[in-house]
Symmetry: C2
Subunit: 214 residues, 2 copies
């Protein structure tokens, strides 16, 4: 009985993994890969560091799992929006609305994807490349439609505009992080107003059922 606290507690691996990933997502998403410590994450998850290594192999492996966890949630929602028949700014708004709703209980998920301190090779890079492809494809498609509507077909223009669009989403999420009292519906309404202000023309339809929620 020299090791006071060792031995299994009967928690199956899958459960523990999820528990660890959840804690890790919050830490990685909040302070970034470079500043996060595995020991700290283990403590947050209520277990010890070696268990993390046993299940995920390395800090990088853990981050990779987090990235996949978060990106899967977001990408699948974006594909859901892309599958319906909205186009142009309306589709943009619907995408934003979906993102805001997913991110409400765990806003830090978003940052995982844009963490410049994360490794740029290995599993992490592979996971990121996979989801970047998946997400950029959707964004490029939406932005391309929009630009074609106004007669700009220059591929570099579309590329730059896609980058702008994706970072506008990033910015709005970040802004939201600084204004936690704002609800997802309010964010969507706000985006609607901003788009109206920018584009001059009214987008085709309101996205949120009840504007009174504002």
């Amino acid at each position: 009985m020299s090791r006071a606290n060792a031995g299994t507690k009967g928690v199956p691996r899958a459960d523990r993994e999820l528990q660890i990933v959840r804690a890790a997502c919050e830490v990685f998403g909040t302070v970034g890969f470079a500043k996060a410590s595995v020991a700290g994450i283990a403590a947050d998850a209520g277990i010890s560091k070696p268990l993390v290594y046993q299940y995920f192999g390395s800090k990088e492996g853990l981050f990779s799992a987090c990235l996949t966890h978060g990106a899967e949630l977001l990408a699948s929602d974006m594909e859901r929006v892309a599958a319906d028949d909205s186009v142009g700014l309306e589709r943009g708004l619907r995408t934003l609305d979906g993102i805001f709703r997913i991110l409400e209980p765990q806003p830090w998920l978003w940052r995982l994807f844009f963490d410049r301190t994360a490794p740029e090779s290995g599993d992490v890079a592979a996971a990121r490349a996979f989801y970047t492809d998946r997400i950029t494809r959707l964004a490029m498609e939406g932005v391309g439609e929009l630009m074609a509507l106004v007669g700009d077909d220059d591929p570099l223009d579309v590329s730059a505009m896609t980058a702008v669009w994706m970072n506008v989403v990033d910015t709005l999420v970040t802004w939201w992080l600084d204004h936690p009292e704002v609800t997802p519906s309010q964010m969507t309404e706000r985006c609607y107003r901003l788009i109206v202000a920018l584009s001059g023309a009214e987008p085709p339809a309101r996205i949120v059922a009840d504007p009174a929620v504002r």
Copy 2:
């Protein structure tokens, strides 16, 4: 003669400091504060680590000097643009043009300002707060004018839109980093087209003297 290479080389402190700051800006701006190593920066600058500490006190002090160096360049240019009489999208375009021209030989300067791995207290925070104020004031003023023109006076909307604007600049600079063959003039022209595509209406005037440069 045990220390092979010691002793002054006759370079005055001010010159060395600039030399070190320049090397540090590139490293900090490229890999971020957290991943940058002081020894590496010293090597890039062609001097030894203790000299860096003698002149800047700490890694944080060095970063702070870099931040001030870069932000001063950018802020003063933005104030130059603000001082002339353009408004709305035209002012936005002129601001972008100035930024692109400054950043052409040293694009990494931009990143210094948005580095989330930098310390969040002490000198760095103070310097950042100083320039954030200065720059945000200008941006908010410009964005506020634009939004007032279309009848949106909600202060939170203006706040969110200002965040979007500043990050659009960030995105365009980042996109440019990935397309190094593009000149500053071409970037400004591209931004002109993107704004036209988004806003529907033609902005008042072209910014770049000779569109043929495209």
